[in-house]
Amino acid sequence: MNTYKLDITKEHCPMTFVKTKLQLEKLNTGDRLEVLLTEGEPLENVPKSSVEQGYKLIETVNVGGTIHKVVLEK
């Protein structure tokens, strides 16, 4: 069980989704990915589309200001 980290706070559409998806594809069952992202489209849609693809949303935490940490698990 490994935990990976990904910061997409500086990215814009569509790379927010692209980078998350490419990182998620590397996970093995039980691995987690912590994604740092900003409010708005990334926060609304990165967790949503990941759950649609069968990943588990463990938690979403505000880590300060408009930055959130989304924890996903395969």
């Binding site: 500086k10 990215e11 559409c13 569509p14 989704f17 692209v18 998806k21 490419l22 849609n45 649609e52």
Partner: protein, 158 residues
């Protein structure tokens, strides 16, 4: 759950429209759509192996025409192209604002396994050979096959 599907006809060889096509393609693939990208006519400029002005193709006219059109490195902006300066300026602006550039979007589409197809008729008109376009092209096909692949999904013409 059956995958949602997006099929894009990349007709335009313009820089900005290719950015739009590859943004939609990579974004949709990233949110788990099956994506088909069908290159036709001017869209061929994005998939030639030789990315600059080069005498691609067979036959005098085809070679001349392909030389004038060029490839991915000199696709023009659809408006305010200023003899090719604008796409370079635009790429600089995209980089400065940390927005994905056209080569990055193409690489993303590739990494996310977007299906690349090319039009058979355009290939004949432009006199381009299979080995002159990027190997990512899964198949050279016509209208009937495109419709078959696009069936049940959304279709965009860019």
């Amino acid at each position: 759950m059956e995958k949602k599907k997006l099929s894009i006809v990349a007709f335009s060889g313009d820089f900005d429209k290719l950015v739009a096509a590859f943004t939609l393609a990579s974004g949709a693939a990233a949110v788990n759509y099956e994506v088909n990208l069908f290159f036709t006519f001017w869209g061929y400029n994005a998939i030639k192996i030789k990315k600059g002005h080069s005498f691609t193709g067979t036959g005098f006219l085809a070679k001349f025409f392909n030389f004038l059109m060029g490839g991915l490195n000199n696709v023009p902006l659809s408006r305010l192209n200023f003899f090719g300066a604008s796409p370079k300026l635009m790429t600089g602006m995209m980089k400065a604002k940390n927005v994905a550039t056209l080569p990055e979007l193409i690489e993303a589409a590739r990494a996310l396994k977007v299906n690349f197809y090319a039009c058979e008729m355009s290939m004949v008109i432009l006199g381009i050979k299979r080995e002159e376009i990027i190997p990512d092209i899964k198949e050279i096909l016509g209208v009937a096959k495109f419709l078959e692949y696009a069936e049940g999904g959304q279709v965009l013409f860019i």
